[in-house]
């Protein structure tokens, strides 16, 4: 009867499922190998890495590579630069986009039919391609190698306005109307009612902006040319060219781990919101 058992639909389905999950686990493991490898190298002493670099488990694990990050080089400074630039950009983007989105979603005004398409047109401007005129603009005001130069061009996000407009449009009007009857001002309505109600959209937009700003490479490369003003992303890139690669591999990987740490933590905590944000942001739903 065993032959009949194996061909029974239930068992076939069960074994199919097992094969599926085994294959999936293998694929996921291979997918994560580069990340595991980076962690492993960052925990291995540099002396050992001179001979063995291919172990996924650290040999004679040590935290020395991480300690050295704070002793040698500018990595802590770059990290701080990235934090400042990213946090200010994210908060600025949220405030500006929420205000503009509120105007487009809730207020009737002359010129709306022109202004909204004008903002959407910005979606077609490739930020990466327009760094030459931006460079000149900041050069004329001698503002390169400053935080405002790293922040300002990244704050105006047409996509953010679009997302906020769509989201605010979908909120029912009755609470606002009640507040209006009570004599609340526009600003109060926006600040006390609309903003708290749009927390889901703000979270998604905020995380997304945070990731993109933290990882921005071309504009910081163009604008911040002094070593002290590098962000962690451009700083880490600069190390890959001229670091004593053969002898300091472990320290380099430790810097890579530190550079990714804020985003990895953010990702693990806010995964759900981030994923929804991507779907909403690019789907235009």
């Amino acid at each position: 009867m065993s032959v009949a058992d194996w061909t029974s639909p239930k068992l076939r389905k069960r074994s199919g499922e097992i094969i599926f999950y085994v294959a999936l686990s293998l694929a996921a493991f291979i997918w994560l190998v580069p990340i595991i490898w980076m962690f492993s190298l960052s925990l291995t002493p540099n002396e050992i890495l001179k001979t063995i670099t291919t172990s996924l488990i650290p040999i004679k694990p040590t935290l020395q590579n991480y300690i050295s990050v704070f002793q040698v080089g500018l990595t802590p400074r770059w990290f701080l630069n990235s934090i400042i630039v990213t946090v200010v950009t994210t908060v600025g983007t949220l405030v500006l986009c929420a205000m503009a989105g509120y105007a487009f979603a809730r207020l009737e005004f002359k010129g709306k039919n022109i202004l909204f398409p004008f903002v959407l047109a910005g979606l077609m401007v490739p930020k990466e391609a327009m760094f030459i005129p931006l460079f000149l603009m900041f050069a004329e005001f001698e503002m390169h190698n400053t935080y405002p130069a790293l922040i300002l061009p990244r704050v105006a996000a047409p996509l953010g306005v679009f997302i906020m407009t769509q989201f605010l449009k979908a909120i029912p009007r009755d609470i606002e109307e009640a507040a209006e009857l009570d004599g609340a001002s526009r600003w109060t309505i926006f600040w006390k009612i609309m903003l708290p109600m749009s927390v889901p959209a703000l979270t998604a937009l905020g995380i997304f902006t945070f990731i993109l700003t933290w990882n921005d490479y071309l504009w910081p490369l163009v604008s911040a040319t002094e070593k002290e003003m590098f962000t962690i992303t451009t700083g880490l890139a600069s190390l890959q060219g001229n670091f004593a690669q053969a002898t300091e591999l472990g320290s380099l990987m430790a810097r890579g781990v530190l550079a990714s740490a804020p985003l990895l933590i953010l990702f693990l905590v806010f995964q759900r919101q981030l994923i929804r944000g991507i779907a909403v942001g690019s789907g235009g739903k």
Binding site: L107, A121, A129, M137, R186, W214, L263, L268
Partner: protein, 375 residues
Amino acid sequence: MSDSTLAAHAPLQISRWRRWWDRNRDSVDAYLFLAPFLAVYSVFVIYPVIQAVYMSLYDWDLLAMGMREFIGLKNYASMAWGTGITWDLQHLLVWRLVGLVTIPVSWWAAFRGSMRRATAGWLSVAAAVLFAGIMGIHPGEAGGRWNDAVFWTSLGNTVEFVLISTPLIVVIGLAMALALNGSGRSLGLYRTAFFASYVFSVSVLTLIWGYLLQPQRGILAAFLSSLGVEPIPWLTNPSLAMPAIVMATLWWTVGFNMVLFLAGLQDIDPTLYEAAEIDGAGRLMQFRHITLPGLQRTTLMVIVLQIIASFQIFGQVYIMTRGGPGGSTRVLIQHIYESGFRDFELGYASAMSLFLFVIMFVVSFFQFRLSPQEE
């Protein structure tokens, strides 16, 4: 003016002002709310485009800030023209014929009703101009050459990257979404695993992959040698460098497309599958007749986003290979960057930026035309 007339007019003035205020209060508020965004947006997003157009008409030296000379369209000529340029039918014939297939395909789609006729018309015109016309232009045999051959190499490499990476990243993203669509807790863990690589910055990506691909010390070589394969010098071999960049990019960004496809799958009405099941339709039938049509909108969006992102490729190439070996991975943004900041030719770099801008504008234009009209 006598006192009496003033007294008579004052209330009228106030009430007129008052009425204007009542009528325009919303507009005033709206502009106050919009002002901060519009200011930053106009200065840092819109104005640079205009400034780029202006700069592209000048010989604009980065070092001599005061020195610039109006040269009309000469930057565009240095970019896209040369000496002894000719046109003939045979040049790049195979590629052009492949490109021209766009025309029958789009009319077939229009005939089936999945594309508007006007769009098929636009696509055909664009394909005819590009493939039948422009791509036949090249330097002639007898001493002809481009003004800037590197521009064409960079454009060619960029297009190569777009053409290889887009189908791969889109199809694999779709496959991953189909495999991981569902509500089980374990599926969620797998989704997390495959999406995690997206949060790394480009310099962490290159840090990992630069070493991973190394023939002497990389983990890929170690794995391959256990299978008996000789170490492969990925990044130093001109014909392997671009595939290696594509591989790293795939690992980095495919999770993003997976998430978009997963969202698209959520939007398909589940009762359609139930009905199909009752009708006895198999999995493959369901995929062909429910899943694929249901994902049409998402797929189009993913393709367009992918093309736009791929045209702007820079970081991974610049850090890992600096465009080498032998210029085989040099891409358009790198050429713009180096023209501006190594050769100090800001005008010329602006002309190339606008060229890239136009490519992306055309791609987005077709996205708008192709996406189903909203009611």
